[in-house]
């Protein structure tokens, strides 16, 4: 089985390299097909594992072996097959396959579609590496690779400066987060003596850390979470994700909605033993801090989504918000619930993005909702599947999001995070409001664009329908999913839908929908009035709480000032001062010697000669 996992992992890389190095193959129709085949293969593998792997399996190879009989370190690559990784593989495989096929239609006519699929396959390879990794260093390696493939795909339209800039931003924000992540990994390694998850867990459970201060452990866990916060775009690292929408829509759907951004959540679930109470030690308040960051992200992102006009941006902020929910659940210790929401979210958010892609494709690359509208009739399949996705996202019974979101609220309630519980219930209402806004602006009213819209071809609507079915029905498997995940050790306690919470949250959601209907369908001019009533708040939201501006200021002013200062120091002090000074001193000494002693006057030479002799004699006599 593990052999199959290795093949499954490396197949997309082989495809990417083959497409990359062979220009003839890259230009042909075989390139997309090969890439699609590898991701379909991953999907098939996940189904095989799902039914045949019952006990966790691992296989490792030494990548760099510096062991000696006495000690030394070894850096390993290894795959692990357990319930957690198989579930994640299923998500990547299923959503990935749908999106790869969808992209065939979406990218049609693009002259470098081969390059697109090569990069896409590279991404799948990197993502699978994270899924299969059985140790911290391997997850870090693929963490970086995912960052690079994200950079390459966001900047796919490289002639467009904003796209390149967005790719760079995504990479660098993640690099900053990885700075913390790597330090966290090193701390954990120092504490437990291993990079392997199973070794670390055993060490923790065996009490190897008793005696280590909670402060140290809390810091280590928090730094690991920083790594997750970078990939999963949690506050304050969230700024890269909305900009990442510069990439082609299938990229946004697969990487920046369904899988890559979920990697942080997956990683925390994978290393849950670093965040909870096990082995008689407390990891500080790392989990509580994590929940707080998640809650903050969920709420802030939802408010920012309210004022976006780009349909993809609305979904991007919505993704941030939903990731915040998952992180909250992690902070509450409900790893299985978080993973369940990750799964349902992957389906419905990929669906929503692909619907947006279909709209953009059908309206000739228009993605500003102010120039869309009335597409309900023109694009029926897109409209209905979008509606399913929206219901799933907002948590309408019985669509998928209802179950997973309610379980999160439940978990928060049970851990007695009352503030976060209220905040996330409120956010659920906001979610309904901004989704209703997007829905009405895009599909209702009059068409405000110029080019004639049309429904997308089968190759695109097919994946939409597949994902819509998943989004509608995935919730019913919550019992099954919990049962499946309960065999995985991270499961803390099984939760069930709490009817009273479900009623309250559904009520809030309905209020959100009603408000959306009133402000954006019934009386659109009222929305303007409200915005004008609270100009400061509106401006704050439009400027994304000035967080981006703050970072830009740090980069442009602070960092660049330091860099210029270093450069000036280099030129003035080191080159002109120290080096130039040495040169000048040498020259002056030479000049002095020439003028004082090399005068050409015989008498002076004689005096110097005499003085020298005298000095020598004195020295010889005295010594």
């Amino acid at each position: 089985m593990t052999d199959l996992a290795w093949i499954c992992l490396f197949a997309p890389l082989v495809a990417a390299v083959w497409i990359g190095v062979s220009p003839r193959f890259r230009a042909g129709a075989g390139a997309p097909r090969l890439a699609i085949a590898t991701v379909l293969f991953a999907f098939v593998c996940s189904l095989i594992f799902l039914f045949s792997v019952h006990e966790p399996l691992q296989s490792s190879i030494a990548w760099m072996d510096l062991r000696t009989p006495g000690g030394g370190i070894v850096i390993e690559l290894g795959v692990i097959l357990d319930q957690l990784s198989i579930l994640m593989l299923l998500v990547v495989g299923a959503v990935g396959s749908a999106i790869f096929i969808f992209a065939l239609g979406y990218m049609k006519g693009d002259p470098s579609v081969g390059r697109f699929y090569a990069k896409f396959a590279l991404f799948v390879f990197s993502m699978l590496g994270i899924v299969f990794a059985n140790n911290f260093l391997m997850i870090f390696i693929f963490w970086e690779l995912v960052g690079v493939s994200s950079y390459l795909l966001i900047g796919y339209y490289w002639q467009k400066p904003s796209a390149v800039e967005a790719g760079k931003k995504a990479f660098l924000v993640n690099r900053v987060a990885d700075f913390g992540f790597l330090i966290g990994i090193l701390m954990i390694w120092q504490l437990t003596g291993s990079f392997r998850f199973d070794d670390i867990q055993q060490a923790v459970e065996a009490g190897a850390l008793t005696g280590t201060s909670g402060w140290t452990l809390g810091l280590a866990a928090f730094l690991i979470f920083i790594g997750a916060a970078g990939k999963s775009a949690q506050f304050p690292f969230h700024v890269w994700l909305p900009d990442a929408m510069e990439g082609p829509t299938p990229v946004s759907a697969l990487m920046h909605a369904a899988t890559m951004v979920a990697a942080g959540v997956y990683m925390v679930a994978r290393t849950f033993f670093c965040f909870g109470w096990t082995g008689g030690v407390s990891w500080g308040d790392a989990a509580e801090v994590m929940a707080l960051f998640g809650g903050l992200t969920a709420f802030l992102a939802a408010t920012m989504a309210l004022v976006q006009n780009d349909i993809k941006k609305v979904l991007a902020y919505s993704t941030l918000s939903q990731l915040g929910y998952m992180v909250m659940a992690l902070g509450a210790g409900a790893y299985a619930v978080s993973m369940f929401h990750l799964t349902t979210h992957a389906f419905f958010k990929a669906l929503l993005f692909l619907c947006a892609g279909s709209v953009i494709y059908g309206c000739h690359h228009e993605q500003d909702m102010r120039r869309l509208g009335g597409l309900r009739k023109k694009m029926p399949v897109t409209f209905w599947t979008f509606t399913v996705g929206m219901f799933a996202l907002t948590g309408i019974f019985p669509f998928a999001g209802f179950w997973s979101k309610d379980l999160i609220l439940d978990a928060l309630h049970e851990r007695e995070f009352h503030g976060l519980f209220l905040l996330s219930t409120l956010t659920a209402g906001l979610t309904a409001l901004y989704m209703a806004r997007a829905w009405f602006m895009t599909f209702f009213g009059k068409y405000r664009g110029r080019a004639e819209p049309h429904e997308s071809p089968r190759v695109m609507t097919g994946p939409l329908v597949f994902l819509a079915i998943c989004s509608a029905s995935a919730g019913f498997f919550y019992g099954g999913a919990q049962g499946y995940l309960s065999r995985w050790q991270g499961m803390v306690s099984e939760l069930d839908i709490n009817v009273s919470i479900a009623i309250v949250s559904s009520f809030v959601v309905l209020i959100g929908y009603a408000a959306g209907w009133y402000f954006f369908f019934r009386k659109p001019e009222k929305a303007e009035t409200v915005a004008r009533r609270f100009p400061a708040l509106h401006r704050l939201l439009l400027h994304k709480y000035y967080i981006d501006d703050f970072y830009l200021w740090v980069v442009r002013s602070v960092q660049q000032t330091i860099a210029v200062f270093c450069r000036l120091f280099e030129e003035r002090v080191i080159v002109d001062g120290m080096v130039g000074g040495t040169v000048r001193a040498a020259r002056r000494a030479g000049d002095g010697l020439r003028k004082r002693f090399q005068t050409g006057r015989i008498t002076q030479y004689a005096y110097v000669f005499l003085a020298g002799i005298t000095l020598l004699v004195i020295v010889m006599v005295v010594l």
């Binding site: 760099m64 390696i141 970086e144 690779l145 990885d178 090193l186 390694w189 860099a563 280099e570 080096v579």
Partner: protein, 531 residues
């Protein structure tokens, strides 16, 4: 004939032969140079594959030719895992360097004679087991460098090529002289310490007669010198080589030298010459004065943070691509110094591996910049822009280089930097004379350095290759055909191959490093006992 002699003789013979060739036969001259480099490359690869980590001998591929027995002087050649990696690096760089030197049109004969002489010197340094010849070959590399930059170089920002080459030569010579003084002290003191002692040499017992001296490193390495002597002389040897590495604040010759040199020389210079310094520290500093190394290297861990962060910050404020790579090199050499300062197998192995990786990566960088410069006659990145369109192949190679430099997994730089980072995390750096032990701080600086590198590399890529294409550059020629692409492809492949399968090169390096460190760790205690 051993492989080490073959590798040394191939470029030496080419140098001598090229003197006899008529200067008009440019094609022939080039082919001879490429042929000689190819021989060294094949030799180096054979050396890599036939290196035996299980051998009990520290040095393999031995050759000894008597020179001046009365002084204890002989041409002694050999290689351990460390020198093997450096020889391999040099061979790849010189082979690709001669391939991309097509653009040289003036004084072709002289150019190749000097290039071959230069590389003979570099190989000689890496393969010498004799102190005298180590120094001899080192000087043999510096003089051609002086002429190559002075004659074929170009203006580097506001500095003329004459300024650049004078500065470089003065630094390199001054550093070498400083090191020489230390090495001579070791020659006398070490030989005297060995008088009448029976030691192992090439598997056999050997006794140095009282009153005789030897330049043989293998013998001198076995002398246990007093701690006071080692602590006094290690800084001299180290500072001499630190000029070449170059360690902050002795680095200012290097970016200017890189920028002024013609492409092939930049490649050799940044790719290989800087490694001579680090190699000298490891082979002679650690090898001959182990207690001194143990005593002093803690300070180096602190200074190298300046290399890493300061070098990166200065690179961020540069606009000339060669200066960016130049300061980036000094930043990366900071990682090498950090790895060396750990005095642990993981860190030092990582440092040597990084010397290899960085050499290949920088050679690739300068080859690419040179390729573009030959057509655009500017290296200011703001003047470039959108070059991906006319130069898809070169641009792609450049992006790969940038990511390798920024530490992308899959390339050798990542694997080696990871070893340095992991190896330095647990190390305590004792600051001699203060009683303070520094922990974590240098590693944290090194990890932050990854962010800094990413920032300036991606900024350079964005400015130079992406965005709207400047209409001036629409007509640039991309590398077409196998012979034009070969040097770039070869270097990328080496980076990727050793990045994917690092154990292939880590194993022999580790073997060599272990033998060196066995004498370093605990050397102070041993040296204290000697008077």
């Amino acid at each position: 004939m051993s492989l080490s002699l073959l590798i040394l003789l191939a470029p030496a013979t080419a140098t001598a032969y090229l003197f006899t060739v008529k200067p008009e036969r440019k094609g022939h001259i080039r082919r001879v140079a490429i042929g000689a480099s190819l021989v060294t490359l094949v030799g180096a690869i054979l050396m890599w594959t036939s290196y035996d980590p299980a051998s009990t001998e520290k040095y393999q591929f031995l050759t000894e030719i008597e020179w001046a027995p009365s002084l204890g002087l002989a041409l002694r050649l050999g290689a351990d895992g460390i020198s093997m990696a450096m020889v391999l690096l040099t061979a790849f760089v010189i082979f690709t360097g001669t391939l991309i030197s097509r653009a040289i049109e003036q004084h072709v004969k002289e150019h190749y004679i000097l290039l071959m002489a230069l590389v003979t010197g570099v190989f000689g340094v890496f393969l010498s087991l004799d102190l005298f010849f180590f120094y001899f070959f080192y000087e043999m590399a510096v003089i051609p460098m002086f002429l190559l930059i002075g004659v074929w170089g170009s203006q580097a920002a506001k500095y003329s090529k004459e300024y650049a080459t004078m500065k470089l030569t003065l630094y390199l010579t001054a550093g070498a002289v400083l090191a020489l003084v230390g090495l001579l002290a070791v020659y006398f003191k070490g030989s005297e310490a060995l008088w009448g002692q029976t030691v192992k040499l090439a598997g056999e017992s050997f006794t140095l007669e009282t009153g005789t001296y030897t330049f043989d490193m293998r013998l001198l390495e076995q002398a246990v010198l007093p701690a006071a002597f080692q602590n006094a002389w290690f800084p001299v040897v180290f500072l001499g080589f630190a000029c070449i590495i170059p360690m902050w604040p002795l680095h200012s010759w290097s970016p200017i030298g890189h920028a002024a040199a013609p492409s092939a020389v930049s490649m050799l210079h940044a790719g290989v010459l800087m490694k001579l310094g680090a190699y000298g520290v490891l082979r002679l500093g650690y090898g001959l004065l182990p207690a001194g190394a143990e005593h002093w290297m803690g300070w180096v861990a602190l200074l190298c943070c300046m290399n890493i962060i300061y070098g990166g910050m200065v690179a961020m404020a540069q606009r000339d691509m060669k200066f960016i790579i130049g300061f980036s090199s000094s930043s990366h050499m900071g990682y090498v110094l950090l790895g060396l300062a750990t005095l642990g197998v993981t860190g030092v192995t990582g440092a040597v591996f990084l010397m290899f990786a960085h050499g290949i990566m920088t050679a690739l960088a300068f080859a690419l910049v040179g390729y573009i410069y030959d057509q655009t006659h500017t290296r200011v990145i703001d003047d470039w822009g959108g070059l991906m369109k006319p130069l898809p192949f070169v641009g792609t190679c450049f992006v790969i280089m940038a990511f390798a430099s920024a530490g992308l997994p899959g390339f050798a730089n990542f694997a080696s930097e990871l070893l340095v980072i992991v190896g330095s995390w647990n190390a305590g750096f004792e600051l001699a004379g203060t009683g303070i032990t520094v922990r974590y701080l240098p590693t944290i600086a090194a990890i932050w350095g990854l962010v800094v590198t990413g920032t300036y590399m991606l900024r350079a890529v964005r400015t130079a290759f992406y965005g709207e294409t400047n209409p001036r550059w629409e007509g640039l020629r991309d590398a077409r055909g196998w012979s034009a692409k070969l040097p770039f492809v070869l270097l990328v492949l080496v980076l990727a191959y050793t990045g994917f399968f690092p154990h292939l090169i880590v194993e022999p390096i580790e073997n060599g490093v272990r033998a060196v460190l066995e004498r370093v760790n605990g050397a102070s205690a041993l040296a204290e006992a000697v008077r």
